[in-house]
């Protein structure tokens, strides 16, 4: 009997290759090590902990990049179908690591202005990074749910991190209620799919009904089943909550405003990117057979998202809410790319990734400037605070202008090329209506992004006493922000510098 059991278990563990998730394991060890270091180190050397976090993550980045090359990566399934690695997931590992390194750096600046516990911030950021890497690699709904919840639960803490500010706590509560609601909706969808795909009375039922491959085969042959359709729609709705697409966008401006600025950046870039990659894998994987249903639904969502995000951002004066609302619009553009991928444009997923990279560089440039300029009252950063910034702090003003220009899609910058690729993909997929709406959205977005730039460069209060709070601004800050802008410009001029589009 025991032999039988051992044999059975051995069948399951045959392709457990722990080496292939080495970067995630190393991140987990690093995160726990930080907590340990806080206990062990004497109080006056606690300044080492942020350095340990940063250099540790850089080390993991090097390991992750050297271990598996991105180009020509062979897709393969591991851990009895729990993990499926492709060139996209390989690339996203690096993407999330770069995000978490930047967030740790900005977090260091943010925490130096606040009276808050410090180590836990880095711990949670690293845990989220590891969980997001597993999230994009998961090819089983159990794996997907657990990784997604690890990300979300850690984000609840980070959003409410500034315990002394009731705005941060309120944002945390709102994110918590909305996040838990979206998880329940996602789960109900998963359960319906599981129930119907494993039903022994239906044709082509599967014994492993939570696996993406099995579901794909089942759904392709049962795409008319009502429960399949409802389940798939609920799953898509749950993901739409995470990426902030209309009609599930209500939480975005509030949560972005209330959370600490580095966390806002993390939510805006990494969390959204993870949501999109999961969406991409679902619609081109298990839900491939439901194209007839999902393409119209997602097209409608994308159009509404682009229009809502841009129109709501026009009148916004709080810069964090502005970034949130314009982030909704960016989610809409990326959704257009996802729909193009569903319609069979083979390189559309790579256009989405390219756009995410340009969005990362530009957003972190803007959020970096915001983190530098924010006072201890982090949630209320108004456009008026940026008046004459270029005259007071020319360097920061230049960085901000480049970042916003890239977000708006001005030609020599990376954002333009990113949008161009997405629009070409949409054109090839014959999504002309969506293309028109996207172009309209871009035109509107130029208006409000340049309202912000105008505030920096052409403020009218020239006789105002320039009360410049000289926040410490050292060489490494300059190098980091400069590198983000240089990256944006290089991608904009030589898109081939980023070898993503095959």
């Amino acid at each position: 009997m025991n032999d039988l059991l051992a044999e059975f278990l051995r069948g399951y563990t045959a392709n457990n290759q722990w080496a292939i998730i080495m970067p995630e394991i190393m991140l987990a060890v690093l995160a726990l090590g930080l907590l340990g270091a806080e206990m062990v180190l004497p109080k006056k050397s606690h300044g080492l902990i942020p350095r340990l976090a940063l250099w540790g993550q850089l080390f993991v980045l090097v390991v992750a990049m050297t271990a598996g090359s991105y180009i020509g990566f062979e897709s393969k399934s591991y851990f009895s179908g729990m993990i499926y690695q492709t060139d996209i997931t390989q690339f996203m590992r690096g993407f999330f690591l770069v995000c978490s390194i930047l967030v740790c750096y900005l977090g260091h600046i943010y925490l130096s202005k606040q009276q808050l516990p410090k180590t836990e911030f880095y711990h949670l950021v690293i845990i989220i990074s590891a969980a997001m890497m597993l999230l994009v690699q998961s090819s089983n709904f159990v794996m997907l749910f657990v990784a997604l919840e690890t990300v979300t639960v850690a984000f609840y803490v980070l959003v409410a991190y500034c315990r002394s500010s009731s705005l941060s706590l309120e944002a945390g509560l709102k994110y918590l209620v909305m996040g838990a609601l979206s998880s329940s909706i996602l789960l109900f969808g998963i359960v319906l799919l599981y129930g119907v795909a494993g039903n022994p009375e239906l044709a082509f039922n599967s014994q492993d009904a939570l696996n993406f491959d099995e579901l794909r085969n089942f759904i392709a042959l049962n795409s008319d089943n009502l429960l399949v359709r409802v389940g798939a729609l609920l799953v898509i709705a749950g993901i739409c909550f995470k990426i902030g697409a209309v009609p599930f966008q209500i939480w975005v401006p509030d949560v972005y405003q209330g959370s600490p600025t580095p966390v806002t950046a993390y939510l805006a870039v990494a969390s959204k990117a993870a949501g999109f990659i999961v969406l991409l894998q679902l619609v081109t994987g298990p839900f491939m057979g439901l194209q007839g249903l999902l393409v119209p639904v997602l097209s409608f969502v994308a159009a509404a998202t682009i229009l809502f995000g841009n129109f709501a951002a026009v009148t916004q004066r709080n810069v964090k809410r502005l970034m949130g609302l314009s982030g909704i619009a960016h989610a809409g553009y990326i959704l257009v790319g996802v729909i193009a991928a569903m319609r069979g444009v083979a390189w559309a997923p790579y256009a989405v990734i390219f756009y995410l990279v340009t969005y990362l560089l530009a957003s972190f440039a803007v959020f970096g400037v915001m983190t530098h300029l924010a006072g201890s009252d982090d949630a209320n950063q108004e456009l008026d605070d940026y008046e004459n910034l270029a005259r007071k702090r020319p360097f920061l003003g230049g960085i901000l202008a480049c970042g916003l220009g890239s977000l708006a899609g001005i030609p020599p910058l990376g954002g333009f090329i990113g949008k161009l690729f997405l629009f070409v993909a949409a054109f090839q997929a014959e999504l002309f209506g969506l293309l028109g709406i996207s172009v309209l959205g871009v035109v509107i977005s130029i208006y409000y992004y340049f309202g912000w730039v105008r505030e920096c460069y052409f403020g009218n209060a020239s006789d105002e006493v320039i009360h410049d709070v000289k926040a410490p601004f050292n060489m490494s800050d300059r190098v980091l922000l400069g590198a983000l802008v240089v990256g944006t410009v290089i991608i904009g001029i030589v898109p081939a510098a980023l070898p993503i589009i095959p």
């Binding site: 705005l167 998880s183 329940s184 789960l187 359960v191 599981y194 129930g195 939570l210």
Partner: protein, 101 residues
């Protein structure tokens, strides 16, 4: 007498709907919290019923993960609510609107 799959699914759907309406309509954050738990438990019930009917164990296994995650969420949520109550002296949603302007 055995109770059929449809009965379980009906109860589960009802619980889910009650939870969803509670989240949308109620004003007290603690009640919203209970409604969220109700939704998760509706999912659990459906999972167990499906698992039994389909004859696969994945559903039963998944329930444990959901329960664990729900426990983590509750612990965090109550901590945030308590911290917020200390600052605002209120747990009603309509008074927690400092951000929406």
């Amino acid at each position: 007498m055995t109770v059929g799959l449809n009965a379980f699914l009906l109860v589960s759907g009802l619980l889910f709907a009650i939870g969803l309406l509670g989240v949308i309509l109620r004003k007290n954050t603690l009640v919203i919290y209970m409604s969220l738990e109700l939704m998760l438990n509706a999912v659990n019930l459906a999972l167990v019923a499906f698992s039994r009917y389909n004859g696969t164990m994945d559903g039963n296994l998944f329930v444990f993960f959901i329960i664990t995650v729900a426990a983590a969420e509750v612990a965090l949520g109550l901590a945030i609510i308590v911290a917020l109550f200390r600052r605002r002296q209120s747990v009603m949603v309509d008074q927690l609107n400092a951000l929406s302007r």
